[in-house]
């Protein structure tokens, strides 16, 4: 054939390659796929059953379950349940409040610690510090709660009194009565201490992955460490670090025993963080569970559903941020 004839023939379409897997592989794939679906199934079941159990309460309360701030089980003369109202708002506020305090206090410390570990620490000191902080991430929340109650409470009360003394004109730091023990403030601090290891670990991983060529380019232009970090590391790691912070937020929002031990859990709205009363949804569930009758248990299930969905959303945002900006980078 001549060159011209060759060229005029059309380019064929790619062939579809198929295989029929052997029986053992078919079984293997089926089993593995089923196993892999487990997380979908479990999460779905959680949502489903909490909804079913909480349905009765939700049907009655509807949106006021989230917006109203009253949790009451009234009994009539014979000890039977006469009337109940269930509204989570106070505890939702408490959840956000303590979690925000945790993030505001904890995240800056964690990010700066991560910068220290990546850009200032060297050699065996660095390895030791990293191991120690990773170990702390494995401590159970029970430990933080008890340590917070026994060891930290005294100092935290003192700080709260100071804040009240000098900044008490701001409504947030004012208190209706001088009870500074077991306040959302100290709960927030304990939660901050709990989330610092996780946020530090994630931020450190992200900072470690900053492309070396950009760092060198900055130094070659006469940058100081601060200028380099501002010009290269922060733009690169911003998204992932925010994702890490949201992970910390999610953890703080769902925390039960630590909050229960350190905070005086009473059902009331309390914006005054230095005053010793408050709670979050998780600790409310723990508090009420022991003595709850069947209807109240349903309400607690509904509360659990709300908490579940809330933490799901926060964690989802965190995942998206970390995966888009973090581990793979730009």
């Amino acid at each position: 054939m001549t060159l011209m004839e060759n060229r005029s023939a059309a380019i064929p379409a790619p062939r579809e390659i198929t295989t029929k897997p052997r029986r053992s592989d078919q079984i293997f794939r089926a089993v593995v796929t089923l196993g892999g679906m487990s997380s979908l199934v479990i999460l779905g079941l959680i949502a489903l059953f909490l909804s079913i159990k909480g349905f009765n309460v939700l049907k009655v309360e509807q949106l006021s379950f989230i917006t109203e701030s009253k949790w009451e089980v009234l009994q009539d003369g014979e000890g039977k349940i006469a009337e109940s109202t269930f509204g989570l708002a106070a505890m939702l506020i408490g959840t956000f409040l303590s979690a925000f305090i945790a993030v505001i206090v904890g995240v800056p410390i964690a990010v700066l610690s991560a910068l220290y570990l990546t850009f200032y620490a060297r050699g065996s000191v660095k390895k030791f510090l990293v191991s120690l902080i990773d170990l702390m991430a494995a401590f159970p929340s029970l430990l933080f709660g008890f340590w917070g109650f026994i060891v930290l409470m005294g100092s935290a009360e003192y700080w709260a009194k100071l804040l009240n003394k000098y900044l008490g004109f701001i409504p947030l730091f004012d208190v209706p009565a001088p009870i500074f023990e077991r306040s959302p403030f100290i709960a927030g601090i304990v939660l901050a201490i709990m989330i610092i290891p996780i946020v530090t670990a994630i931020s450190r991983e992200i900072f470690d992955q900053t492309p070396l060529d950009r760092i060198q380019a900055a130094y070659a232009l006469g940058a100081s460490k601060l200028s380099m970090i501002r010009a290269v590391v922060i733009p690169y790691g911003r998204g992932g670090v925010v994702g890490g912070a949201m992970l910390g937020l999610g953890r703080a929002m769902g925390e039960t025993v630590a909050v229960y031990t350190v905070l005086n859990v009473v059902y009331q709205i309390n914006w005054q963080v230095l005053f010793g009363a408050g709670g979050n949804v998780a600790s409310l569930i723990l508090l009420k569970f022991g003595e709850a009758g069947p209807e109240e248990v349903d309400a607690l299930m509904a509360a659990g559903l709300v908490l579940f969905l809330l933490t799901l959303v926060v964690n989802a945002i965190s995942d998206i941020l970390i995966n888009t900006f973090g581990k793979k980078g730009r």
């Binding site: 929340s141 340590w147 659990g304």
Partner: protein, 348 residues
Amino acid sequence: MQSTIPTPQTPWATSIQQRLNTAGLIMLGAVLAGVAVKTTGLSGKLGFATSFFFIASLLIFIQQLRLRDLQAAKDSLLSSFASLAIVLTLIPILSIVGTVVVKGYKGIHFGMFANDMTMASVNDPVTAGGLLHALVGTIIMVGVALMISFPIGLLTALYLTEIRGKLARPIKFLVQAMSGVPSIVAGLFILSILVIPVTQELTGLMGSLALSILMIPTIARTAEEMLLLIPNELREAGVALGATQWRTVSGVVVPAAKSGLVTAVILGIARIIGETAPILLVSGGADALNFNPASGPMGSLPFYIWKAFLTGGTEEAYARAWGGMLILLIFIVVLFSLARYLSGRKVA
């Protein structure tokens, strides 16, 4: 041409002189802070610590400004704050570990591994009773949870690394979502699906099931990471020899990832061993030894600690609680170190 090789030097490293200068400034800062505390209204450790930090940072800032320029001075501020942050991160860790060791030491005794709490109350002296039931309970509950979680976690990881089907990305996302489920929600779930409608009994098995929900994502994620470390060349070698995917995975990939999978198990155990909230909800707690997870409430280390702490109120009770915490912490440190050691030795 030189005939001898000169000694290697590092002229850029901070010289002794520079280090002494900085140390001198820091000590001056401490002294000035002490003066400030004495003379002004600042008081206590907090007052001293804050003024020390501010004064020392300011001194270093000024020194850099005089020696070099504004950019270097600002740089020193970052260095000061980063150092402060790491110190603030370390203080709680050291305080927690120190407290547990010091207070926990008083709460343990050799006999504690042989007794349970049926004959003693939390307020009795620490030498009465023991935590055998708690230890046994934790071991059994963790063991059962492991038997459920390991297969599921491994299968999930295998789906993500070996089969990589169309659902891989949503499943990976869901696994990470599952790891964020609050522990109390896991307890409520088991309550709603099994305890209330079916068994109406608080047992160790229920506790294991709730703990599995927390354990599966940890095992799945770690196992996935470890499986991804196995180079593809190994899989290709298996397939090129005519093996099915099943045989390649079971005969080549999984054995190669053995130590990684053990690491995943260890991390999974460490994750749940201290969990309290779900246990309180669905396992209750017992003072007696109970070897049967399927019947009757079962004790556990977290419950032992919880009960001693919250229902006690006396020195003895607190000591008992700290003792239990010390045992728990020892477990966690051992597990963690084991995991580190294993993952350090992994794939060549």
